[in-house]
Assembly symmetry: C3
Homo-oligomer: 264 residues x 3
């Protein structure tokens, strides 16, 4: 069984340093989410130093949201270093399927075997070549279950964990599969919250050796904080501010009580 409460305790005790090579839009919210949760964020992406920084980090996030060739070069250098040193890294294939360039970059990074791939259903389906659905920006309305087959196929083919987020999330390594039912409908109305959960996933992967457990605990903790933040929020603006408060205030006991994780 997934013990998200213990995973949160361990994360806060170790305060992992998480390197983010992420998009311009999500940098601010990702860093704030990591700090509020109890991790230590750093945004380092220049090819001149990205891999050096990976060497001193506990985990790495590679997010292609606002990709460009110099950044893609740094993503590969950092991912290669993470693999060499056995450090966990998370790929967030933002907007995969939207343009040929973006899809190709996402697939090239997937071939480097990230520890965990975290995306919405449309991104995961595009990544797996299973669908040609029009990408409505980066906020998909598909459900994670619709991407279930593709997720399992990616997991088995590439030896990675796939974490598909949506109203109900689905996490699989191709054999063990979990669903997480935490979260709130207002969360997709705030930009970057999907990207930030990829950073949270990396923070849990830094301190929890089993990547399925790490990815699952991350979604339960984050979604539960979102639920608490939404309680009393008037809309997406106050929700965002309150989400940082909720992550900061969330206790392992809250998680033990509120996590809605089921094995499939």
């Amino acid at each position: 069984m997934i013990d998200a409460a213990t995973a949160l305790t361990r994360l806060r005790e170790r305060r992992p340093l998480v390197q983010n090579i992420t998009n311009y839009v999500a940098m601010d919210v990702s860093a704030n989410v990591l700090l509020a949760l109890g991790a230590s964020p750093a945004m380092v992406h220049a090819a001149e130093e990205a891999a050096d920084f990976t060497s001193i980090s506990d985990a790495l996030v590679v997010n292609i949201g606002t990709l460009s060739p110099p950044w893609v070069q740094a993503m590969h250098l950092a991912a290669e270093r993470a693999n060499t040193l056995g450090k966990p890294w998370v790929l967030d294939p933002v907007g995969a399927g939207a343009t040929p360039y973006r899809t190709q970059v996402a697939v090239d990074l997937l071939r480097r075997q990230p520890t965990i791939v975290r995306g919405n259903a449309a991104e995961i389906m595009a990544l797996g070549g299973a669908a040609g659905t029009r990408q409505q920006g980066v906020d998909s309305r598909e459900t994670a279950d619709q991407a279930s087959d593709t997720a399992m196929s990616i997991a088995r083919t590439f030896g990675v964990v796939v974490s598909v987020t949506g109203p109900v999330d689905l996490i699989t390594n191709g054999s063990s599969t979990y669903r997480v039912a935490n979260g709130h409908f207002l969360m997709p109305m705030v930009t970057g919250l999907g990207c930030a959960v990829s950073a949270v996933t990396a923070a849990f992967a830094a301190t929890e050796p089993d990547p399925v457990m790490a990815a699952t605990a991350a979604l339960a903790v984050y979604g539960l904080a979102g639920e608490r933040a939404a309680d009393g929020a008037q809309g997406p603006g106050t929700l965002r501010a309150r989400l940082m408060d909720a992550l900061y205030l969330l206790s392992p006991a809250d998680v033990a009580q509120g996590a809605r994780i089921v094995a499939v």
Copy 2:
């Protein structure tokens, strides 16, 4: 007459995908404003994919706030594609007049005939070559009416709609001119809110065929949300969070009642 309430209804029904090639400072607030309003934002600017993304977008924003040569290249590629496909696009000439490079880039983009140019009075005056006023950052203290002649001249010369924002906004296509008196004095104390209204203008232009009506409805809806957000805000920090809430909560009936639009 401008029916901003109906324009808002239509926007939310169609949920347009708005591509933003915008500055680093305003990306976060622009994306959040678009989501809260009911549109779907995407920030895509690499030359390798910018025009491909324009092909699947409903509208485009080109904002030169933190310009650099690779981005300017992508701006031209995306604007050209938008023109080819007949998709609306908005130029925000942030800080035009502040440096020779910036002014030249703004003029080059204006020559590509955006659907709408949205700026403050100093930017519009600099763009029209009508003034050599010192640029005080990007938050001008000039009034929109002072830029009225320049705005009409730009509109007629280039065949564009010009939207000049300030305490009272002025929108013109060179023949029809409107003023919008919505908004709150605290709004310029939050960074990026001017840039974000350019994104809102693009969202309305995606779903409202008359660009004068789109630009005018955008300013009324946005300004009205700002008024509601300011009611109860202690200062610019809480105003920003509450603006997202207000955009999310604003109903077409609110707009019908609160929009202060007058034909000149």
Copy 3:
């Protein structure tokens, strides 16, 4: 004695234009902090225009948080122009010590003799070559006093003011030294607040000729606003929003009463 209240009054009267060449994560919060305080921010970093903009600015911030070669080039061009024109500039050596590239860039910029260097203890120690402490992201847990000797050595060697922030801050030009005890433990839980205080330092340096007084007043005003913001905040998310409100509402009388500055 440091008169932070009068320094704040002067800053608001003159509303200095502060050019920021800063990192992607801190741009938003830096701009919002400057606006709320009463200054005028601009983010301008392209080599094609950076120095031209320095010519019309009242002060410059050079922050290496998310550095890359094209930005470093612009940093040098802008710093050189500031020196030529006798305009104050602040160096924020974010993450110095974390990678060889980053440390080298920080040292190269220090050799250009910024008016003020603002960093946390680990950064200042790395910059001075006094320590090889592992960098835990950019949020150091060292105390400013531990960097005191290094700060004084840097100040004397390079002829700069060094401002070391922490639970208690330390400001020195190598002969006069002050401590500032304002601030709140929640502030390091919000990303970019350290970077933003470098921007605040630049704004004070624009309107206060003595850089020791400018740096000290900046930390007292900012820390005091943080204290007021924390009073009633639930966590780091609401703190951030309330910090902008507090900066906007803070009066010179509040500063005269609340500033905790002591000469060492």
